[in-house]
C-alpha cells in the first residue's frame, strides 16, 4: 500500500540514509528498530513529509502513485500521520476541542459547540469503542501521558489516516497505559489501519509487530518476521555479537573490605513531600557505599529513588516548584557534609547524573567541549583568577572525548546533535575532570541504544575499578543485575530490603518492591519493571509475567491520573 523506494538522504557531511526500500502493507504493524543514529527518525520524517520532496532521493509511493510531499500537511492528506513523543495537543483545550482542531463544525461562522461535541463523541467511539471512558470535556492536560497519546492517535485515525507512525510511544507510559495502547493498535489493525512502530524496547516490538525492519548506519539491514528472537534483532542492529548485554560483572576488581570507612555514608535520610510536609517521600533511609562498589536503588515509581539521589546532591533545594525538607546525616570519607545546594555536594566530592538528560544534564546549544568543561569550570578548575585557561580546558575535554569514545564530528559540535548515548557520555564525562568520590547516576541508560548502553556499563565498571563509589537509581532490572554489588529496594520511601551478590535476581527485587501489603498492589500499578530482555531465562520471564499480571490492576483505569509530585511522571 505504501512503499519507500531507494530512499537516500545526505546531511552536510553525514550520509543519513542510503538506498532504503521498504513497504508497509494494509493492516500491518511494521516495527522499525535501530540504534540511535541509524536513520529511523530521518526515514519517518521523509515518510511524514517533514523533509520536503527534493531534499532527499528516491520515491514515496502510495497506492502506486508517486507522492511529492512538501509538508506534513501533504502527508496527512495522503493518509500518513505521525504521533511524536512530544505530543501535539493543546494542553488547556478539552479533549473534544483537540479532536476537532482545525475542522470545527461551524454555524453562521461560529463554532457549533453542540455538534462539535457530538462529532467528537462519535469519532472517539468509532476509534476506541463505546466504553473508552474518556471525558470529552476534560482539558487534555488533566489526562495522563498515555491517555493523551491515545487521544492523539484517535485524532490521527479520525482524520482518515491509513498509516500512523508511532515514535517511541511507550517511553513515558505505565504498564496499564501500554496495554491500552497495544489493544488500540491491535483493534485498528484488525480494521485495516497500518502502523509504523518505533521503539527501543524489543519486547514491545516482538509482542506487537508483524514484521521488524532493522536499520543500521543509514541502511536497511533486514526485515525480520515479528516473532524473531530478540537476540537476532540485536545482532543485526549492532552488526556484531554483543555477547550478553546484561552479563553480570563477575570479576570484582577490588576486593571489598567492609571494615573500611565507606566513601558515602547516609544515616536517617528523610525527604518531606514537597506539597504535604507531613508525608515523606524518603523516610529514614540509611546505607553506605564503599570505594569500588556499585549500590543500586530499586523500587517502583514513586518509591523514592530519584528523591534520594537529588537529596544527596542538594538538587531539590533550589527547584522552583520547591522540594521537601531534607533531614539526615550525609558523610563522605567519614566527614560530615552539609549539602544545601549542588555546589556543596560537588565540593564534597559528589557528582550527579540526573535522569532528565536534556532538561537537567546538558546545555543543548553549547558545544560538546563547553558541556564537558562545565563542572570543572564551575568549580574553579581549569581557570586562573576567573579566566578560563582555554587550551588547557580544550585539552582536558579532548582527553574525555577520546576516553569515552564520544561519537561526534568534533569538540565544537553542538551537543544537541549527538545521539542519546553519546549525550549521556558527555553528562558523565563532565564530572570526571573533578575525580569525584561518589557518582550518583539516575537512570544512566534511559533512552540509550543497546550499543551505547554496553559502553556506559563498561565505563561505570571502569570507574568503580578505579575506586570511585557509585550509587545508581534504575528501573531497568537487568541493568541493576549487571552492575550492582548491592541492591537497596525501596518501597514508599522506606528500605524494603537489601540484596547482595547472588541474591540479586529480578524476582527478588520485584517481590521486595511490590511488597505483600494490599496497598502496594493497588497503589503502584505503574511499577515499571521492564519485562526481561535477552539474557533472562524463560522461567524467569514466566515468573515475572505472572507476578506482573497479578499486580496489575484491571485495565479500566480512570484516566485522571494526577502526576505524583514526588518524582517525575516518567520516573
Amino acid at each position: 500500500m505504501i512503499e519507500l523506494r531507494h530512499i537516500g538522504k545526505v546531511f552536510p557531511g553525514v550520509r543519513a540514509l542510503h538506498d532504503v526500500s521498504l513497504s508497509i502493507g494494509k493492516g500491518e504493524v511494521l516495527g522499525l528498530v535501530g540504534e540511535n543514529g541509524a536513520g529511523k527518525s530521518t526515514l519517518i520524517k521523509i515518510l511524514g513529509g517533514v523533509y520536503a520532496v527534493g531534499s532527499f532521493t528516491g520515491e514515496v509511493v502510495v497506492d502506486g502513485t508517486v507522492q511529492a510531499f512538501r509538508s506534513t500537511r501533504d502527508a496527512r492528506s495522503a493518509g500518513i500521520a505521525t504521533v511524536h513523543q512530544e505530543l501535539a495537543l493543546v494542553p488547556h483545550m478539552t479533549v473534544a476541542e483537540n479532536l476537532l482542531l482545525g475542522r470545527e463544525p461551524t454555524r453562521f461562522g461560529m463554532v457549533d459547540g453542540v455538534r462539535a461535541h457530538a462529532m467528537a463523541r462519535d469519532l472517539l467511539a468509532k476509534v476506541l469503542g463505546p466504553d473508552h471512558g474518556i471525558d470529552l470535556t476534560a482539558p487534555v492536560s488533566h489526562l495522563g501521558v498515555g491517555m493523551q497519546q491515545i487521544v492523539e492517535i484517535a485524532r490521527a485515525l479520525a482524520d482518515n489516516a491509513r498509516v500512523v507512525i508511532l515514535d517511541e510511544p511507550t517511553a513515558a507510559l505505565t504498564d496499564g497505559e501500554i496495554e491500552r495502547l497495544f489493544a488500540l493498535v491491535r483493534a485498528r489493525r484488525a480494521a485495516g489501519a497500518s502502523f509504523v512502530y518505533i521503539s527501543h524496547r524489543l519486547d514491545e516490538i516482538t509482542a506487537l509487530c508483524d514484521r521488524v525492519a532493522v536499520m543500521r548506519d543509514g541502511e536497511l539491514v533486514e526485515v525480520l518476521p515479528g516473532n524473531a528472537p530478540t537476540n537476532d534483532i540485536v545482532t543485526r542492529m549492532t552488526g556484531k555479537e554483543l555477547g550478553d548485554v546484561h552479563a553480570r560483572r563477575t570479576a570484582r576488581t577490588s576486593p571489598r573490605d567492609d571494615a573500611r570507612t565507606p566513601v558515602l555514608e547516609v544515616t536517617g535520610l528523610a525527604v518531606a513531600h514537597p506539597a504535604l510536609p507531613d508525608r515523606r517521600v524518603v523516610d529514614g533511609l540509611s546505607f553506605a557505599v564503599r570505594a569500588g562498589e556499585v549500590v543500586a536503588l530499586a523500587g517502583a515509581m514513586g518509591a523514592g529513588r530519584t528523591a534520594t539521589l537529588s537529596a544527596l546532591f542538594g538538587a531539590a533545594a533550589g527547584r522552583a516548584q520547591g522540594a521537601g525538607k531534607v533531614t539526615g546525616r550525609i558523610r563522605v570519607d567519614g566527614r560530615d557534609v552539609s549539602v544545601r545546594a549542588p555546589k556543596d555536594a560537588i565540593a564534597a566530592g559528589i557528582a550527579y547524573v540526573p535522569e532528565d538528560r536534556k532538561g537537567a544534564g546538558l546545555v543543548l546549544e553549547l558545544s560538546v567541549q563547553d558541556n564537558l568543561a562545565m563542572s570543572a569550570v564551575a568549580t574553579k578548575k581549569l581557570s586562573r583568577l576567573g579566566i578560563v585557561d582555554a587550551p588547557r580546558a580544550e585539552q582536558a575535554a579532548l582527553a574525555r572525548f577520546r576516553d569515552l569514545q564520544i561519537k561526534a564530528p568534533g569538540l565544537g559540535a553542538e551537543v544537541a546533535t549527538l545521539s542519546g548515548g553519546n549525550q549521556q557520555k558527555v553528562v558523565i564525562g563532565k564530572w570526571l575532570e573533578l575525580a569525584p568520590r561518589v557518582l550518583l547516576l539516575d537512570e544512566p541508560t534511559r533512552g540509550v541504544d543497546v550499543g551505547a548502553k554496553v559502553e556506559i556499563y563498561r565505563l561505570i565498571e571502569a570507574l568503580v575499578a578505579r575506586g570511585h563509589a557509585v550509587l545508581i537509581a534504575s528501573s531497568d532490572l537487568p541493568e541493576i543485575i549487571r552492575l550492582a554489588d548491592k541492591v537497596l529496594v525501596l518501597r514508599e520511601g522506606q528500605l524494603a530490603g537489601t540484596l547482595e551478590g547472588d541474591a540479586i535476581t529480578q524476582l527478588a527485587i520485584m517481590q521486595l518492591a511490590m511488597g505483600g501489603s494490599p496497598r502496594a498492589a493497588t497503589d503502584m500499578p505503574s511499577a515499571k519493571m521492564p519485562a526481561a530482555e535477552a539474557s533472562v531465562g524463560a522461567a524467569d520471564i514466566a515468573a515475572i509475567d505472572h507476578l506482573v499480571t497479578d499486580m496489575r490492576p484491571p485495565i479500566v483505569l480512570p484516566e485522571r491520573v494526577s502526576p505524583r509530585p514526588s518524582e517525575g511522571v516518567i520516573s
Binding site: 562545565m374 564551575a378 568549580t379 587550551p391 579532548l398 577520546r402
Partner: protein
C-alpha cells in the same frame, strides 16, 4: 598526531563565527553604499561625520554590552533609559547642589547604578519575578525618581565633566591604537603557541591571518578617522567597555556561566554554577554600565533633562543586541555581535539623516531592519538543524 587532526578544533567559538563575519560584511557594504551614493554628497566618509557617528554610538554601545549579557541569561532590562536619567541626575545633583568634586559625583552615580542592578538581580533571582516585570517597574520608577530628585528641572553639568566629552591628544590616540593592536596580536599569538604546547590541533593559518588582519584593519580605520585630530573620550570608553565585555563573556568562568545559565539553567545549577550570584552580578554589571552611559550622555549634551534623558535607550539597546545576533531566548550571542549590531544601527540612523529621509519614516525603517535581522537569524538557524 593523525588523531588530533581528525578531530577538528573547536572553531573559535561557533556562537560568533560565521554570523559575525557576515554582519561585518553587511556593515562594510552599508558604508560602501553610503560613501558612493551621490545623494550623500560624499559626506559619509569624512572625519567629521564618522566622528559624530561613533560618538553617538558610544553611549548606546556601553548599554548594549551590558544588555547582551543580561539577554544571554534569558533576562531583559527595560529600565535602562530611565536609569540613565536617574544616574545622570544623581551626578548632577552631587556636583551642582552638594558641591562635591566631579570624581565623587561620578562614583556616586556608578554606585547608584550598581544598586539599581543589585535590586533587579535580587528580585529576579531570589524572588523569581520575571525580569520583564521587575524592570518595567524600574522603567516607571527611576524616571519618577529623577524627576522628584531634580524637581523636574534641567541641570547643567559644568566644566568638570567636559573631559568626558572631550578628545584625547593625538599622541595618546596613537598610543592607544598601537597598544590595543599589540595586546590583541600578543593574545592571539600566545593562544596559538599554547595550543601547540598542549598538542592541540593548531589554529589554521587562514584563521590566524584573518584575525590579525581584522585587528589591523580595525585599528587602521580608527587611526585614519581619529589619527589627525585625536579620539573622542566617549569612543575610548565605549571601546574599552566592549573589549572588557568580549573578554568577560568569552574568556572567563563568569562568561561560561552566562551561556550555561541561558542555555539550561537547571543543568548549570546541577553542574555547580551559582545561578543566583551570577544572575545578580549580571544585572549589576548592566546597572554600572547604565550609570556610565548616564554620565557619558550627560557630558555629551552638557546637562540632564530628567524627563527625557535617555528615553528609548533601552529599546535601542535591545534592537542593537538583537541585530547583533544575540538570541532573546538566551544562551546564544556575543559582545562582538553587539558591537557590529550597534554600528549597523547607528550607521542606519546616520545614513538616513544624510539621505534626508523624513525622521518619521526613519522609525518605520528601523523597525523593518530589526525584523529583517531576526529573520536572518531564524533562517540561518533553520539551515543548521
Amino acid at each position: 598526531m593523525s588523531l588530533e587532526r581528525a578531530i577538528p578544533a573547536m572553531p573559535g567559538g561557533r556562537r560568533f563565527g560565521i554570523n559575525a563575519w557576515a554582519m561585518a560584511g553587511v556593515l562594510g557594504l552599508m558604508w560602501a553604499v553610503l560613501a558612493l551614493l551621490p545623494a550623500t554628497r560624499g559626506v559619509f566618509l569624512t572625519q567629521g561625520n564618522l566622528t559624530a557617528l561613533l560618538s553617538q554610538s558610544a553611549v548606546l554601545l556601553v548599554v548594549a554590552v551590558g544588555m547582551t549579557m543580561v539577554i544571554i541569561i534569558r533576562g531583559i532590562d527595560l529600565s535602562v533609559g530611565a536609569g540613565v536619567a536617574l544616574t545622570g541626575t544623581v551626578a548632577a545633583l552631587c556636583h551642582a547642589k552638594l558641591g562635591l568634586p566631579a570624581p565623587v559625583a561620578i562614583l556616586a552615580a556608578l554606585a547608584c547604578g550598581a544598586a539599581i542592578g543589585a535590586w533587579h538581580g535580587w528580585w529576579v533571582s531570589w524572588l523569581g519575578i520575571p525580569a520583564f516585570v521587575v524592570t518595567l517597574a524600574g522603567f516607571k520608577a527611576y524616571r519618577g525618581g529623577a524627576l522628584v530628585l531634580s524637581d523636574a528641572q534641567s541641570m547643567v553639568m559644568g566644566d568638570d565633566f567636559a573631559f568626558l566629552a572631550g578628545t584625547l591628544p593625538v599622541s595618546v590616540t596613537w598610543g592607544i591604537g598601537i597598544g590595543a593592536v599589540a595586546v590583541g596580536v600578543t593574545m592571539t599569538l600566545r593562544d596559538a603557541r599554547r595550543r601547540k604546547q598542549f598538542s592541540l590541533a593548531p589554529t589554521s593559518p587562514t584563521v590566524l591571518a584573518t584575525q590579525l588582519a581584522g585587528m589591523a584593519l580595525l585599528a587602521g580605520i580608527l587611526l585614519a578617522v581619529f589619527g589627525g585630530r585625536g579620539m573622542p573620550v566617549l569612543v575610548v570608553i565605549a571601546g574599552a567597555v566592549a573589549a572588557a565585555g568580549a573578554f568577560l563573556t568569552k574568556r572567563t568562568r563568569f562568561g561560561r556561566h552566562l551561556y550555561a545559565i541561558g542555555g539550561n539553567t537547571e543543568a548549570a545549577r546541577l553542574s555547580g554554577v551559582d545561578v543566583k550570584r551570577v544572575t545578580m552580578a549580571t544585572y549589576m554589571i548592566l546597572g554600572v554600565l547604565t550609570a556610565l552611559a548616564g554620565l557619558m550622555l550627560a557630558a555629551r549634551v552638557n546637562g540632564v533633562t530628567p524627563g527625557a534623558q535617555g528615553s528609548n535607550l533601552e529599546l535601542d539597546a535591545i534592537t542593537a543586541v538583537v541585530i547583533g545576533g544575540t538570541s532573546l531566548l538566551g544562551g546564544r550571542g556575543s559582545v562582538v555581535g553587539t558591537v557590529l549590531g550597534t554600528l549597523v544601527f547607528a550607521t542606519l540612523a546616520n545614513g538616513m539623516n544624510l539621505l534626508r529621509v523624513d525622521s518619521n519614516l526613519q522609525w518605520i525603517f528601523t523597525g523593518l531592519i530589526l525584523l529583517a535581522a531576526v529573520l536572518i537569524d531564524v533562517l540561518s538557524k533553520g539551515k543548521r538543524s
